[in-house]
């Protein structure tokens, strides 16, 4: 792994390609350490039956491609042009107006012109023109067309795994061209040749086998939850046991496994547990599952098919347990898949019913066919109906801002609900500048499976626009807590903040909810879920 350069080093970014350099087609790709992720290991591809598993190294000259690799790609390309109108259209209608160019966090953070969304797409379009347009066939480079070669393939791979499918460019595109769509399909093509990254391939294989990305086996999952139960008891004096794989429950709860295993997501997980326990008396009948123990879907970063294969568990488990509907935790791309793909992929079993909150009686009309409700909307509804006794002053030591996850923002439009919840549990909330939030939100820089360790430089570069906006509110309002509703965010923003704005920590929304939640018969709370003293309790002796 390359040493990550210091912030001052990385900050030297030139966004202006020099005028007289030779055209981009003539420049061979340079695969840089710190930017690329390690290759997929053969065992992970084998486990899920992906083609051409082998040991290979992106830094090597020889990628050990199958002999007919070009044929495979060209056939795969054609097949996808016939299957996806988006892909076909986006290959044809770009006018290269450049509106997207400086909207990409990776371009802003790296200055690499091939990270401009338009250029990333041109890498594929150039080959498309060569094979599928008359002009490209006749005029070649004069029509912006080029032959598919091994170097071109390597360039594709390098830049397709430098896009987090965040869709920010698509907001600005006058034709709605969505680079995420091009990246998703481009990655499908690389996967036809076994060219995945291991940070995606391993979670996929794990998820397939154990039900979650981290490969947590059922007993270990239970252990971890027991540990949280103990922690919660220490803080509140109440034992908040959860149910697992329980048949006949009304609701199945599914959240990203990151919440169960990685700080600070674990505190968010404790937040879920506390909320569920709180609502038990009011009639909440909910179970967790160790089989469907992953909300996220790294299959989505591999191919549509793999996304569908992993997603299938949710409905299958809901059917097996006989629940009425599914509640989903705080996660970004999980919700893009749930909102825009799940019903189409796998369709819910007939046994499910239209979701109704057992506490407030609210019908979730917007989840009528998927039968899956976002926990934050569930909680917002509880708050609206005054079903939670809250003491927001317990979060007074926090000055909070909110990072909209790309997927919930631009693949769902889930903007107000989290803000409503946060404002109910926090007295100090400050928004980042308007061009960096809501539908214009900046990616964490590590989404879509790029949250590995070896590409830390890329991640710190990609996260720079987000970090810069956090720094702004940190300096202006003293913000010290960055909240989010995404498990990848919780994990990666922590590293990002350490790197660019070390004074700011990261939290999930339900961690703050649980801090503020007042339980009957709880002991006097002196610390928050992290064991930090609550405001005014700094001198109290923690038991």
């Amino acid at each position: 792994m390359a040493d990550t350069p210091k912030p001052a080093e990385i900050a030297k970014i030139d966004h202006y390609p020099s005028p007289f350099e030779k055209g981009w087609m003539n420049k061979q790709v340079e695969i840089k350490p710190g930017v690329y992720c390690y290759a997929s290991k053969p065992k992970n591809l084998e486990y899920v039956g992906m083609p051409y598993p082998r040991e290979w190294n992106p830094a090597d000259e020889d990628w050990k491609l199958p002999e007919n690799w070009k044929e495979i790609i060209e056939e795969g390309f054609k097949d996808r042009l016939d299957k996806y109108r988006s892909f076909k259209l986006f290959m044809d209608i770009c006018v290269r107006c450049g509106a997207c160019a400086d909207k990409c966090h990776f371009f802003i953070g790296s200055g690499d012109p091939k990270n401009m969304p338009v250029q990333r797409a041109e890498l594929l379009r150039s080959v498309y023109r060569k094979n599928h347009t008359i002009g490209g066939k006749i005029l070649g480079p004069f029509a912006g067309a080029r032959e598919l070669t091994e170097d071109v393939l390597k360039e594709w791979w390098y830049y397709l795994y430098q896009c987090t499918e965040c869709r920010r460019c698509s907001v600005f595109c006058p034709y709605g061209i969505d680079t995420a769509e091009i990246t998703i399909i481009g990655r499908e093509l690389t996967n036809l040749l076994g060219l995945n990254i291991d940070w995606i391939a391993a979670p996929v294989a794990n998820c397939y086998r154990t039900g979650n990305h981290l490969g947590i086996q059922p007993h270990a999952y239970k252990d971890m939850m027991d540990f949280f139960t103990d922690e919660i008891e220490d803080i509140t004096g109440i034992r908040m046991e959860q149910d697992f794989n329980r048949k006949g429950a009304e609701i199945l709860f599914i959240t990203p496994s990151g919440d169960v295993f990685a700080d600070p997501g674990t505190f968010t997980c404790m937040g879920y547990m506390m909320l569920f326990h709180y609502l038990k008396e009011q009639g909440l009948d909910i179970t967790w599952s160790t089989y469907a123990s992953e909300g996220g879907n790294f299959g989505f970063f591999t191919s549509h098919e793999m996304a569908k294969r992993l997603n299938a568990k949710m409905y299958a488990e809901a059917k097996r347990l006989g629940v009425k509907w599914i509640l989903g935790g705080e996660c970004g791309h999980m919700w893009r898949v749930l909102n825009q793909y799940m019903d189409t992929f796998n369709g819910p079993p007939d046994s499910l019913e239209e979701p109704v909150s057992p506490i407030t009686g609210t019908k979730f009309e917007n989840a009528k066919t998927t039968k899956m409700v976002h926990l934050v909307e569930f909680t917002a509804d509880l708050m609206k109906h005054n079903k939670l006794k809250l003491d927001p002053s317990r979060n007074d030591h926090l000055k909070v801002t909110f990072h909209d996850s790309c997927n919930t923002a631009r693949g769902m439009g889930f903007l107000e609900e989290p803000r409503y919840v946060i404002k109910n549990v926090c007295n100090n909330f400050y928004e980042m500048p308007p061009e960096t939030i809501r539908e214009l939100t900046f990616c964490c820089g590590s989404g879509s499976g790029l949250n590995a360790g070896e590409n830390m430089e890329l991640r710190m570069r990609g996260g720079l626009p987000r970090a810069n906006a956090v720094k702004h509110v940190h300096e202006k309002h003293g913000v010290n807590m960055l909240s989010c509703i995404c498990a990848i965010d919780r994990a990666v923003l922590t590293s990002l903040m350490e790197y660019w704005v070390p004074e700011v920590e990261v939290t999930g929304v339900h961690e703050m909810v649980a801090n503020a939640l007042v339980f009957d018969g709880e002991k006097k709370r002196t610390t928050d879920l992290r064991g930090e003293p609550l405001p005014g309790m700094e001198d109290e002796e923690d038991v």
């Binding site: 869709r167 794989n245 769902m412």
Partner: protein, 356 residues
């Protein structure tokens, strides 16, 4: 290919486009070819080409509902949703599309990155930048007005709206300097606006390094062609007058499918006409198809309703999954030990026996 070569290549192509009718009509008097045959061929290519392209696009299905949601979704009655940028149903989509097509709403969001370093610390701002939007809007609308104004050449009697448009467009009553008051026709505002906008659109490709980097000959060529089209049209109107009656005779003949080839129209007219023919014949094969493409764009023309209305993928196929039974078979013992409920209690003993 670097940008100099791209521009040279495109310019050369446009020069050839100008020279062909110049020589063809000027030297060889091929009026029927340039006045009748080529215009018909170009129109045919244009219409058939666009239809074929659109049909080709629509043959590929839209397997997933992937609108780019640029506002609050529809959820609780007490949360204000954004029905245009995040439409719930067809009504919202229609409004979104109207805004997109008529006002270039997405382009209006454009900003410019301002990257600085203060004591080595990056400072990023997003500055006002509406010039691209302004230029695009001015360019497209001027083009539309000019196109509609040209109806006075194809129609007899001239429809009222064309005369009205013409009067509005020429309201400034400017003469073309330096011939003010010398019997020259008034200058049309849209002529000036079109040329200014298209020049800016070309200049920004050359001056802005990011745009220069991505620009292809296919970007310079249509711009240069449109500049040549506008320039030849203006030359014809303001300097080398042509016989308008003869032009009208030719144009009406073309549209009534009884083409005639009147004499005495200046070569400049044939140059103007040929450039137009090249432009419309090139249209279906080029990025200019964005005109039709925008209507089919799945990130804009779909509502965000996939959680409450099923979207069907026509090629959805069954996939292999890892079932719960397979999962339990692998982990049953551990599950039982951890106190997790299982489907088949007995299996574990069977397995243990087998191992023995």
């Amino acid at each position: 290919m670097n940008f100099v070569l791209s521009i040279l290549f495109s310019s050369f192509a446009v020069i050839v486009v100008v020279l062909i009718p110049w020589i063809g009509v000027g030297a060889f008097d091929l009026r029927i070819l340039f006045g009748i045959i080529i215009p018909y061929a170009a129109m045919l290519t244009f219409f058939v080409g666009i239809v074929v392209r659109v049909i080709d696009w629509s043959r590929s299905p839209v397997p997933f509902r992937i609108p780019t949601t640029a506002g609050q979704e529809w959820s609780f009655p007490w949360i204000k949703s954004n029905p245009i940028d995040n439409p719930k149903g067809t009504g919202g989509v229609v409004i979104r599309m109207i805004f997109e097509v008529l006002t270039f709403r997405s382009l209006f969001r454009n900003t410019r990155l301002e990257y600085r370093r203060v004591d080595g610390v990056p400072k990023i701002d997003y500055e006002w930048e509406k010039w691209l939007w302004v230029a695009a809007l001015v360019f497209h609308y001027s083009f539309l007005v000019i196109f509609l104004r040209h109806f006075r050449f194809f129609t007899e009697p001239v429809p009222g709206f064309v005369t009205l448009l013409q009067n509005l467009d020429g309201f400034m009553q400017m003469g073309a300097a330096p011939f003010n008051g010398f019997g020259l026709p008034g200058v049309y505002l849209t002529d000036m606006l079109l040329m200014a906008a298209v020049t800016w659109l070309l200049l920004r490709r050359i001056l802005y390094s990011q745009i220069r980097y991505v620009s292809l000959p296919a970007d310079y060529f249509p711009l240069l062609l449109i500049i040549a089209l506008g320039f030849s049209g203006m030359l014809m109107r303001y300097l080398f007058r042509v016989d308008v009656t003869a032009v009208k005779e030719l144009a009406i003949g073309l549209f009534k499918f009884s083409p005639v080839s009147p004499e005495g129209i200046g070569v400049i007219f044939y140059i103007h006409l040929f450039i137009l023919c090249v432009l419309i014949a090139y249209f279906p094969f080029s990025k200019l198809m964005h005109l039709a493409g925008i209507f089919l764009s799945p990130t804009r023309n779909l509502s965000n309703n996939s959680r409450f209305v099923r979207h069907v993928n026509p090629w959805n196929y069954p996939v292999q999954t890892h079932t719960y039974d397979e999962y339990e078979d692998e982990f049953r013992d551990k599950m039982i030990e951890a106190g997790l409920p299982v489907e088949k209690e007995a299996e574990s003993t069977v397995e243990t026996e087998e191992k023995e």
